[in-house]
Amino acid sequence: MLQILLKRLLIAIPVILIVITITFFLIRMAPGGPFDAEKAVPPEVLKSLNERYNLDAPVIVQYKDYMLNLLQGDFGPSFRYPSRSVTEMIFTGMPVTFELAFYAILVALIIGIFAGVLAAVKRNTALDYIPMTIAMIGICMPTFLLGPLLVLFFGIHLELLPVSGWDTLPGDKILPSITLGAAYAAYIARLSRGGMLETLNQDYVRTARAKGLSEFNVVFNHAMRGGLIPVLSFLGPAVAGLIGGSFVVETIFQIPGLGRFYVEAAFNRDYTMILGTTIFFSVLIIFFNLLSDLAVLIANPQSRSSQ
């Protein structure tokens, strides 16, 4: 168990290093300097700017310096907003994005598992078909369409909920969380239905039933433990999708989170900010993949031997 975890960690470290290196050199290959937007800059200003951003050193030295700074948690200054550091911007946006992602996952887990388990238990009835059809719609309806439609209906048409912002008006967190969570709720519903169908046919579930346990007890204590493993292993990779989704949701609802900063940085060609956030997101994704592997190992002893 510990050995498997250590092995995964040992793979994760070179992967993170490769990501940082590739991103760093890709960014350096980008055409045009970061100061192109400004009008003709006097040479001495340009020189001092280059010094500030360490752009006058050879690329290899820049790379070394960047890596050393990274070790101390310093992502360097932003190209676009020279007064702010990338680290500072990441830490302003991060809590907002985390909170949004947390609510989204919560929405997804509650709705998804409930619908999936219900569908599996009431297989081939209306309680199976209706949630599963809605789940199919949820998967096919992209976040960037669902969000605006929710805004149009609940925000503008019914005037029930605020249509933008985060933490400014009561209830303004509801629509973004649902928008981001909906697709995952749909996936989780399908995964938990499939997983539950499989475990409900297992011998140990039949044994539990034969012992005269209540249906509730059988489903929740016996079948669910095995049946929800697919959901568990989906959660790690889902984080990568959540980050992509946060780009969209934060843009639609004008939420000052990391996702919107990233999209803005991509538009403004704020190279240091792009570099910093890419590294940050990559580490995050790799970390959560590791975490979900670990959770599966704990929940399913069989998977330990197959590794």
């Binding site: 992967v15 960014i27 992209p142 960037f144 369409l145 605006p148 149009l152 990779p237 780009f247």
Partner: protein
């Protein structure tokens, strides 16, 4: 001969599946509409008629016009060209890379297999959405680059599926028998293994197309994908969102078209899987 009847059986099962047949019809209509867009589009997709401005659906403009007076129906038809093209080309890229990768790893096995699959494992852990955005930012928003980048991301699962299939079939008794009879490697592969992995490849390819289209629309929605005056459905949705408060049809019709297409592709893919592998369709 056996092979033929497998596909015949599958085809019969597919035809019996009403959702799949309906989806196939929708898809054929859409593809034809995209191909013949220049002939069937009622108006020019780029002609700006500022006197008209944004008008709701009417007899002349069936789905209305956008804020610049361009016919929405024509724009959706032309958008279908870009969106479907991305779907097919990027899937083809993913198919070529993934299938050859999976076949080589699965067929040769041993160390080659473990190295190749380890590479896939490592790539799986990478934040590809972010890398695609990075590429689009650095190298400009070029549509062919977009195809390549998306295809380069989507091949991983394909490689895993194909490898698994090749390994399963390689260990079947009839393949071993053929091997024992001295059938050369290439012939063994082409005659006995390849026909049997075509099914899963077809299924997964069909299910990759909607994913690829979603990715393209996602990028276009953020403004990092297809650039004007070209428009994909993602771009149309983006403009629709900007003006949805006053002109809701600009969001609703492109959104509806996009969702129906993804729906049809997913249903068709599911139907294909059920038809080719009746075992899974039992539950």
């Amino acid at each position: 001969m056996n092979n033929n009847s497998l596909w015949n059986d599958a085809f019969r099962r597919l035809i019996a599946n009403r959702a799949a047949v309906g989806s196939a019809c929708i898809l054929i209509v859409l593809i034809l509409a995209a191909i013949f867009a220049p002939w069937i589009a009622p108006h020019s997709y780029s002609y700006q008629n500022l006197d008209v401005g944004a008008t709701p659906p009417s007899g002349e403009f069936l789905l209305g016009t956008d804020t610049l007076g361009r016919d929405l129906l024509s724009r959706i038809l032309y958008g279908a060209r870009v969106s479907l093209l991305v779907g097919f080309v990027a899937t083809a890229v993913a198919l070529v890379i993934g299938v050859s990768w999976g076949i080589i790893a699965g067929y040769f096995g041993g160390r080659i297999d473990s190295v190749m699959m380890r590479i896939v494992d490592v790539l799986y852990g990478l934040p590809f959405i972010i890398f695609i955005i990075l590429l689009m930012v650095i190298f400009g928003r070029n549509i062919w680059l977009l195809f390549m980048a998306i295809g380069a991301v989507e091949w991983l699962t394909m490689a895993r599926i194909v490898r698994g299939q090749v390994i399963t079939i390689k260990n079947q008794e009839y393949v071993m028998a053929a091997q024992a009879m001295g059938v050369p490697n290439l012939r063994l592969f082409v005659k006995h293994i390849f026909p049997n992995i075509l099914g899963p490849i077809a299924v997964y390819a069909t299910l990759t197309i909607p994913q690829v289209m979603l990715l393209e629309a996602f990028l276009s929605f953020l403004g990092l994908g297809v650039q004007p005056p070209m428009s994909s459905w993602g771009t149309l949705i983006r403009y629709g969102v900007e003006s949805m408060e006053e002109y809701s049809w600009l969001l609703i019709y492109p959104g509806l078209t996009f969702t129906i297409t993804l729906f049809a592709l997913n249903f068709f893919g599911d139907g294909l899987r059920d038809a080719l592998d009746p075992k899974t369709s039992e539950d």
